[in-house]
């Protein structure tokens, strides 16, 4: 019982044939090889699979692919250019905020949405903003520093 759908991802339209119950995350990773979006829990608890849907961060593991039709999806592959990085990514690199890197794409997406809607957040707003992205490596210290750094520019 597959359904042919078209998804608008990073400005490009993809035609895919997917089972109804397949999640957006699995379609991104398995059908489109967009593996920058990570699977950390598959139940909306860790934020590693965060993508933007119409500019807002969501857990792509609890969105059905068929439910994403008609939405603008942005994944980590849609951030930055071929060689240059987005300022948020540059700041994360410069501050040493990346360790294992598994939560990082999700953090980038959430931080992007946060700064798009509020370019100069307070530190507590940044902490609130990324509370849905669990990280086990950094204690969030350098991640918060990096996002604050970008917000001050």
């Amino acid at each position: 019982m597959k359904m042919s759908i078209s998804l608008l991802i990073n400005g490009e339209t993809y035609q895919v044939n997917v089972p109804h119950k397949k999640t957006l995350l699995d379609v991104l990773r398995e059908d489109l090889a967009l593996t920058g979006t990570k699977k950390g829990c598959d139940s909306g608890e860790c934020g590693a699979c965060t993508v933007l849907m119409d500019g807002k961060p969501v857990n792509s593991c609890i969105v059905l692919a068929v439910d994403a039709v008609g939405k603008q999806i942005t994944t980590i592959e849609g951030i930055g250019g071929i060689t240059e990085l987005d300022p948020i990514q540059e700041a994360l690199v410069a501050h040493g905020a990346i360790q294992c890197g598994y939560c990082t794409p999700g953090i980038v997406m959430t931080a992007k949405a946060l700064l798009d809607s509020n370019p100069h957040p307070t530190e507590s707003q940044v902490r609130e903003g990324i509370t849905g992205n669990l990280c086990r490596c950094t204690g969030y210290v350098k991640i918060v520093e990096a996002i604050m750094d970008v917000s001050r520019r």
């Binding site: 950390g40 890197g101 598994y102 086990r136 490596c137 204690g139 210290v141």
Partner: protein
């Protein structure tokens, strides 16, 4: 000493590929004809398998292979990545798939199918008949008279690690006070963001098999997997792509033999990826330990006798447990000086998932107990807790009982001094139970904990590392290393060490980003906080060998003796004879070009395989301020000051990152994390990230990291270690701060709101 790139917080060598999402982790890979593997897990904590029928699963279209115990090699093995050595006891009690379930989640059967949905459906079609046995979910039940045996070990005790120094009874007789307390620490999980247990195995037709796996120990995983499968070590090739966090959970074999066996049986690549729930259910976590500590002390704070008796709940299989019992003794011995010491550690089987390595390898458990009791002793003797620690800790020049070697350098006094100043120790300790807002229901306190940790595991283990530096035609260098970086940044620090030693720009050193056992020489892997110290020494020495050849070639070209040459900024310089003469130099590019294509016809290569000369301990003093809500029992950590002696910080941002991240795990250990089982059925109660609570960005306090760089002679540019030490003292510091706030001593972790409130109400009765 001034260095060019050592001591600089250069960006990590893998940061850009990770931040852009282009880094390919094992689970991101896909091979043509790749199948998906799945494991059937026991729903019972303890059960004999009477019969197992896989016929329906095998008939399901898309299923390629179904394996049970019958299909596995009858070779007993141990999954722990603990190198064979005189100091290690490795009890071999595992098969790749079991014929007797010993915990909920034990692997009973495995399938490989064309896709995940088919593999899951196949599991549902396997029919198993079990004879359920009593579930022994804690050491008390497991050791009780008449308890059923989980393996063939009397009373389910399979290891006893004794240590005796001096005469413990005489020591206690000599004491003015004797303190005896029992502490319990729970099972906690590493929770790497990439769930533990992901490997992809691809056999070839020539009898070899390649396994991509998210591991800390490529070489040991290769040899253990080869043993479990009855293969030759060289037949297996382990490739370690980026690893999404490890913290000890990948310290050895996780599921590689299952993936390999499936792949070999079907002749196709198989991806075996555990879900978050499976990572909780079926992979190793931190040992729960019950520790009784007895300490004899003189009125002036001198220790006359120290005794530890611990029962280590290792879960259903031995893996790391007997080998962890040794370091557990070592941590205890090494913290404080005493003429008389006795340790008895017992390894006990229970019907919970096997326990293994988790950052600190027994040290956080021991330090929680020891440092809690030290504060009680200080209070009874009326001595400042800082003073008591300074009086009794081993220092540079003294023998360290963990290794039996002389301590090279000690920054502990400075850790205490700088940390105490930052937290305002004297001022804040004088106001015990300082009340604050909210109708006086919140009380504040400060506390601290001290710890020592290793840089490698010598002399208990050999700490072999191999490094090769190739000087390329253009003067850049490739560093060939079994790079088991799992996020901590070792690959970057090692590149800095190579660049510093070679005298070339950091950007010109290219390390093997992944580990590949077909390419790099034997390396133990990422354990015991060893990469920078042990690996760093090998890298530095390989670079030194290459540099020597560069200098010899330069000497020929410049007609100047080697003794008058120095390397700097990618060029070899002759020291000036007189100030009028312009400095003479030749680039390493020219030298290397000449080596390859000019007079010699060889490449400049430096290779070593060796172990480091020592095991310098590191020290830390962590200070915390907490606020206890006496109406809800909630403990909030307001601030952490972490003063760590790490030796030379090769990359300060990386060092800070290790400490900051570890503190998140340490606070969790103290307050929110506990992996729980139903004590009757043995079913895990919280194998998910809603109910297993790791701290979020809003839960983390302000963290101030103080680096004390007491360099040591044997370390590369004076480096010691930092990987594990950040969380070792955290829980103890929090418990001591809670005591300072409310006057209640917690001897059991975590200090949940329920427990804290109950204790407050008991106290007020």
């Amino acid at each position: 000493m001034s260095y060019s790139v050592v001591g600089q917080s250069v960006p990590r060598v893998d940061a850009r590929e990770k931040v852009s999402g282009s880094a390919l982790y094992t689970g991101d890979m896909m091979l043509p004809h790749m199948l998906i593997g799945k494991v059937l897990r026991s729903p019972f904590a303890h059960a004999k398998i009477i019969s197992i029928d896989t016929s329906k699963a095998k008939e399901l279209p898309g299923v390629k292979v179904v394996l049970t115990y019958e299909d596995t090699p009858k070779i007993l093995w141990n999954s722990a990545g603990f190198p064979p050595s005189p100091g290690a006891i490795l009890v071999e009690d595992q098969y790749i798939l079991t014929n007797k379930a010993r915990y909920v989640g034990d692997g009973i059967a495995a399938v490989a199918a064309v896709d995940e949905a088919t593999a899951v459906q196949a599991l549902e079609l396997i029919e198993v008949e079990y004879e359920v046995l009593p579930a022994l979910m804690n050491i008390e039940r497991a050791m009780s008279d008449g308890a059923v045996l989980i393996h063939e070990a009397e009373k389910n005790i399979y290891g006893h690690t004794p240590v005796v120094i001096g005469d413990i009874d005489a020591g206690f007789a000599d004491a003015d006070f004797v303190f005896e307390d029992t502490y319990y620490v729970p099972k906690v999980n590493q929770v790497s963001l990439e769930p533990c247990g992901v490997s992809m195995a691809a056999p070839d037709k020539d009898g070899r098999i390649t396994i991509w796996t998210s591991t800390q120990m490529p070489h040991l995983v290769r040899s253990i997997t080869a043993h479990a499968l009855g293969l030759k070590t060289g037949q297996i090739r382990i490739i370690k792509p980026p690893v999404g966090g490890a913290f000890g959970s990948r310290l050895g074999v996780v599921n590689e033999p299952i993936a390999a066996l499936l792949a070999m049986k079907v002749g196709q690549p198989v991806m075996l990826k555990y879900t978050r729930e499976e990572a909780f259910l079926a992979t190793e976590s931190r040992h729960p330990i019950t520790m009784t500590i007895k300490t004899g002390v003189k009125k002036d704070g001198t220790f006359t006798a120290r005794q530890l008796t611990s029962y280590i709940d290792g879960g259903a299989y031995a893996t790391h447990t007997p080998s962890l019992a040794g370091p557990v003794a070592g941590w205890f011995l090494a913290m404080y000086k005493s003429p008389n010491i006795k340790v008895d550690n017992y390894s006990v089987y229970t019907n919970s998932t096997q326990c293994g390595a988790f950052r600190g390898y027994g040290n956080p458990q021991v330090v929680f107990a020891v440092e809690s009791q030290i504060d009680d002793i200080a209070e009874r003797l009326g001595i400042d807790p800082l003073e008591l620690r300074l009086k009794n800790h081993p220092c540079a020049g003294e023998v360290w009982l963990w290794s039996g070697w002389v301590i090279e350098s000690c920054g502990f006094e400075e850790c205490i001094a700088s940390g105490a100043k930052a937290i305002e120790w004297t001022k804040k300790r004088s106001k015990i139970g300082n009340e604050s807002s909210h109708q006086g229901s919140k009380k504040r306190g400060v506390g601290m904990g001290y710890m020592m940790h290793v840089s490698g595991a010598r002399p208990m283990l050999h700490e072999t590392s191999a490094a090769m530096i190739k000087i390329n035609e253009d003067g850049t260098a490739n560093l060939i290393y079994s790079n088991s970086d799992c996020g901590q940044g070792a690959g970057t620090s090692l590149s800095q060490i190579a660049a510093e030693e070679l005298g070339i720009p950091f950007e010109d050193v290219m390390i093997t980003k992944t580990a590949d056992t077909d390419v790099a020489g034997f390396d133990i892997g990422s354990h015991a906080s060893r990469q920078t110290y042990s690996g760093g020494n090998s890298v530095k020495n390989a670079a030194a060998k290459a540099k020597q050849k560069i200098l010899e070639m330069a000497a020929e070209m410049m007609e100047t003796p080697v003794s008058e040459l120095v390397v700097k900024g990618g060029r070899v310089w002759a020291s000036n004879k007189s100030s009028e003469e312009p400095a003479k130099s030749v680039s390493i590019a020219e030298i290397s070009h000449r080596a390859h294509f000019g007079s010699h016809g060889n490449q400049i290569i430096g290779v070593v395989s060796e172990e480091p000369p020592g095991n310098p301990p590191v020290y830390a003093a962590q200070f915390v301020e907490v606020e206890v809500d006496t109406e809800t029992g909630i403990v909030e950590v307001l601030r952490v000051v972490a003063a760590h002696d790490v030796g030379t910080a090769i990359n300060p941002a990386i060092v800070e990152g290790q400490i900051e991240g570890a503190i998140q795990q340490g606070i969790g250990y103290a307050l929110t994390e506990e992996y729980c089982y139903d004590q009757e059925s043995g079913k895990p109660l919280n194998p998910n990230l809603s109910d297993y609570k790791i701290l979020t960005s809003v839960d983390m306090p302000q963290i101030e990291t103080i680096l004390v760089e007491a360099a040591c002679d044997t370390g590369p540019f004076g480096a010691k270690s930092v990987g594990e030490s950040g969380l070792v003292a955290t829980a103890a510091a929090i418990a001591n701060a809670v005591y300072n706030a409310i006057g209640i001593r917690f001897k059991e972790l975590p200090m949940t709101p329920e427990r804290v409130l109950a204790a407050l109400q008991n106290k007020n009765k």
